[in-house]
């Protein structure tokens, strides 16, 4: 009897900490949870700002309190370097890799570093957000036009309108954008523009004529729009812009109706990790409605999953750009590897340079 009581009590007290198989998941998922419990730890390499990611980590820990999350906030290029170096040294590396450098993520997964895993959440995502069962898009982050409300009352809604606006000599030096020769994300955005947006070269030429400033970091771009040194920041990552606009009332965020390009932040479970089951739980969490809701409402990185509600969801953008058809989400696919070919890069960069010279 006494034994029974103590066992019951122990179970009662343990109950809140006992992670349950999420609804709709196969019963066998309990095994993954149990294994993760033994692993105790999860090592994440990520380019997502720790301030944003912290909400997700905290929420994840309420589900699985027995997992200690070691979160490494590193830039996309450094992340890639660190990962392949660790792989080559034959040592252990991250369990989970989550980066906005789409091309680099596809390359790592395609080069065989990702552990195949079919997430129970995968069926809720379109094919363009999955690369086989090794790499998953987790967010949908648009390139936006950031503007300073003190100087701009009505932001342009198409590239042509924007280019026309820039013809005004008063706009000289008032626009900031990426330097695609110096920033990976900048290249991805501007290059995709050149493929997707019809009238883009006119805008690039207008950039050249109006002395557009080119930056290697979105932070400086936004800072200089905040100060009014520039009135517009073109193709700033939407999630960071939204986060800033929340704090700085002067910042406005606008979208283009003639196609808005968005990237996905792909994630994979690493073959080099020591805690693959904890990594599975984290991937499933990020893809789950619960995780996506935290992204949409707290982290303010745009959620990808349809049906998610909150300020940072695709639905909110559709309205502003005149419908879903005007949003182009770069697919998670092997096609992205082409962007790493010298010929493709050089061709675009040459076009870009020529356009900026006004030719």
């Amino acid at each position: 009897m006494q034994k029974f009581v103590s066992v019951t009590l122990a179970l009662l007290f343990a109950a809140p900490a006992l992670a349950q198989v999420p609804k709709g998941y196969p019963a066998s998922y309990q095994k993954t949870i149990d294994e993760a419990r033994k692993e105790k730890k999860l090592v994440v390499y990520s380019s997502t700002d720790q301030a944003s990611a912290q909400f997700l980590i905290d929420d994840f820990k309420t589900l699985y309190p027995f997992i200690e999350v070691e979160y490494n906030d590193i830039g996309t290029t450094q992340l890639y370097s660190r990962f392949i170096s660790e792989a080559a040294a034959g040592g252990k590396s991250a369990d989970f890799v989550w980066s906005s450098g789409m091309e680099l993520q596809v390359k790592l997964a395609a080069d065989g570093y990702a552990l195949p895993y079919t997430s129970p959440e995968a069926k809720f995502y379109p094919a363009s957000s999955k690369l086989d069962n090794i790499l998953y898009g987790t967010t949908m982050e648009p390139g936006v036009l950031v503007y300073n409300k003190r100087f701009v009352k009505k932001p342009p809604t198409t590239r042509q309108e924007f280019a026309k606006l820039l013809a005004d000599p008063k706009m000289n030096g008032k626009v900031a954008t990426w330097d695609p020769e110096k920033s990976g994300i900048g290249f991805t955005f501007l290059h995709q523009d050149s493929v997707t947006v019809g009238s883009i070269m006119d805008l690039f030429k207008a950039f050249g004529k109006s002395g557009t400033a080119q930056y290697s970091s979105s932070g400086v771009m936004m800072e200089k729009v905040i100060s009014g040194e520039h009135h517009f920041g073109y193709n700033v990552i939407g999630s960071y812009a939204l986060l800033r606009a929340e704090k700085v009332p002067d910042i406005g965020v606008a979208f283009f109706k003639d196609k808005t390009v968005a990237f996905q932040r792909p994630a994979f479970i690493s073959k080099l990790g020591e805690h693959p089951n904890a990594a599975k739980l984290f991937l499933d969490y990020l893809l789950s409605t619960r995780g996506q809701n935290v992204m949409a409402n707290k982290s303010l990185i745009y959620a990808l999953r349809s049906g998610t509600t909150g300020p940072a969801v695709p639905k909110n953008i559709y309205g502003k750009i005149g419908g879903k058809q005007n949003l182009y989400v770069i697919p998670v696919s092997r096609d992205l590897l082409k962007n790493l070919e010298p010929a493709v890069r050089n061709d675009f960069l040459n076009d870009w340079r020529t356009a900026l010279k006004g030719q």
Partner: protein, 575 residues
């Protein structure tokens, strides 16, 4: 070897004592060679390969050299670095030397306060000072806006190559100041007094007595300015970015941006070329200084305290000029950064009172890695600084006291590390920790940072301690050894006490450098070993200038407090 070294030693010495320093010198040289050449050698090796050195398939190839040496962007960047380095030598060396003389040797008013303020740029990250300059003198800056209202235009820009060179020059004045003043402080003032008594004016005393006596430290600091000029990163990153003004270190971003994946080969080539530049600079320095055995010794067995030279009426004018310098280079930009940490936005048309906030600090303190970052930074800077002083002192005495050949080797070796951009050498260190298994366990400890920082700042530290050590005459130590003291005992009881204030200021300077060091740690950052400087770099990428400003204000506060404390202690220790 014994024969050669005996020429260097005093005749009074016992033959038995000669061998030991020679062996000691060889051992020291070997250790320094391993420390310095392992990361640099790895980069040199990488520069000759067609793929990452750890890739299974790779070939020896000169392609990376071909790529860099035919890239017009590389030559533009090289030229820009050269202009900036020249600006630093041309501005920082004369201004720093003059300030060192004025503060230490004359009755300049407010000199204590000046000295405190003067050092600020050495402990604020250049990225932050760049932001500070933008806030104050940028197109919509706190100074620029009223100027535009008044004159209709702002007659300057800070986003141009000459502007960056001038600002870099102004910001490096304190480095020269510190080198020269640690030497000036130890000078035998009776020489200056003699000149003064015999009727020489203050200018004549400075030019004909003081400056020649401190010439080695002036030359050393000029060479350091050249080295740092080629390595400078944060300032051109902030001020040159928008206009595409690249220097050698920011050109590295372009290399990776163009290939899409990290371009290890070309990056290593740039590192090798910078090492070559550093070798040239060290050779130049050796040529200018020659074999300065004990030519410049001036702290002898004599007293060296004296009255300050009187500036007369000019003192107020000079003080005013120093104040303007401090206002423009230090006070306003630092004020800008601190202000930035307390507002959400700024610029034309913003009433700063409306946007005041403490949220930037709140945001920082919600990040779990920050408090660790602060304690780690303090640990690395204080303990690491202490270790580094020991290492540099050993190398400096090796340079001054071993055979001419070893001295030369040590001179070259210790001059190299800072020539390679922090980001690349940090990468090389990560590789060493990964691929050299016996030291692998260090990678996730703070010791990896201490080791990397100690090696990276070697040119700075060794020059600092060489300049200090050079002034202690060997006569005293040798006298002690004639009376039977061991070399160690002689060093401990004679040289070390004389060095005390020099060592303290060296520790302090290294403490500051280690606190603000940022790029070297980026690849060595792991949860648990975060440091503030590298956190700033990772925040920079996503754009949290708010948090960066708040972090930097904390950084300024920490170092300010430590500096004032140490200054107090230092004054007492010297009495």
């Amino acid at each position: 070897m014994t024969g050669r070294s005996s020429q260097m030693q005093s005749k009074a010495e016992q033959p038995a004592l000669k061998l030991k320093p020679a062996y000691w010198g060889i051992l020291l040289t070997c250790v320094v060679a391993v420390l310095v050449l392992s990361p640099l050698g790895l980069l040199a090796y990488q520069s000759l390969l067609s793929a990452p050195f750890f890739a299974p398939i790779k070939q020896v190839s000169l392609d990376a050299y071909r790529y860099v040496l035919t890239d017009p962007a590389f030559y533009r960047a090289l030229f820009n670095s050269f202009v900036i380095a020249l600006g630093m030598v041309g501005i920082a060396v004369p201004a720093g030397t003059a300030l060192a003389f004025l503060v230490n040797k004359t009755d300049l008013p407010f000199r204590k306060g000046f000295e405190l303020l003067l050092l600020t740029p050495t402990f604020v990250s250049p990225i932050i000072l760049g932001i500070g300059f933008t806030m104050v003198f940028g197109p919509v800056g706190l100074v620029s806006n009223p100027v535009r209202d008044l004159f209709g235009t702002v007659p300057w820009t800070i986003y141009s190559l000459p502007a960056i060179a001038i600002i870099a020059g102004l910001l490096h004045v304190p480095y020269v100041y510190l080198y020269v003043s640690s030497t000036i402080r130890n000078l035998d003032a009776s020489l200056e007094e003699a000149a003064r008594v015999s009727g020489a004016g203050i200018w004549t005393v400075a030019m004909s007595v003081t400056i020649p006596l401190v010439r080695p430290s002036v030359v050393y600091s000029a060479m350091l300015m050249l080295l740092l000029g080629f390595e400078i990163f944060g300032l051109p990153l902030v001020l040159g970015d928008s206009k595409g003004i690249d220097v050698i270190t920011t050109y590295l971003y372009r290399l990776t941006g163009i290939t899409g994946v990290p371009a290890y080969g070309p990056m290593a080539v740039v590192a090798v070329l910078l090492i070559a530049v550093a070798l040239l600079i060290v050779a130049l320095q050796r040529k200018i200084l020659g074999n300065t055995g004990n030519k410049y010794t001036s702290v002898g067995a004599k007293g060296y305290r004296s009255a300050r030279l009187k500036l007369g009426k000019a003192r107020w004018w000079i003080a005013a000029a120093v104040m303007v310098y401090l206002l423009v280079t230090v006070l306003l930009p630092v004020f800008g950064v601190i202000l930035r940490s307390f507002v959400t936005s700024w610029g034309a048309g913003v009433n700063l009172l409306d946007v005041l906030t403490l949220k930037n600090y709140q945001a920082i303190f919600t990040l779990p890695d920050l408090s660790r970052g602060v304690t780690n930074t303090l640990l690395v800077a204080s303990v690491g600084g202490f270790i580094a002083v020991g290492v540099y002192l050993t190398i400096a005495s090796g340079i001054l006291r071993s055979t001419p050949f070893l001295r030369k080797v040590l001179d070259y070796l210790s001059g190299l590390p800072r020539s390679v951009p922090g980001l690349i050498i940090g990468l090389a260190f990560m590789w060493l920790f990964l691929f050299v298994k016996p030291i692998g366990f260090l990678r996730t400890t703070l010791f990896s940072l201490i080791l990397a920082y100690t090696i990276v700042w070697m040119p700075y530290g060794v020059r600092l301690l060489t300049a200090t050590l050079m002034q202690i005459s060997k006569d005293l130590e040798e006298a002690a050894r004639m009376t039977g003291a061991s070399p160690l005992k002689a060093f401990q009881s004679i040289t070390l006490p004389l060095l005390q204030s020099g060592l303290l200021s060296a520790w302090l300077l290294l403490f500051m450098q280690f606190v603000r060091e940022y790029s070297t740690g980026v690849y060595l950052l792991t949860p648990g070993t975060e440091v503030m400087g590298s956190l700033i770099v990772s925040l920079w990428a996503t754009g949290a200038v708010d948090s960066i400003a708040a972090l930097s204000t904390l950084q300024i506060g920490i170092i300010g407090v430590v500096y004032i404390l140490a200054n107090r202690l230092g004054v007492k220790a010297g009495e």
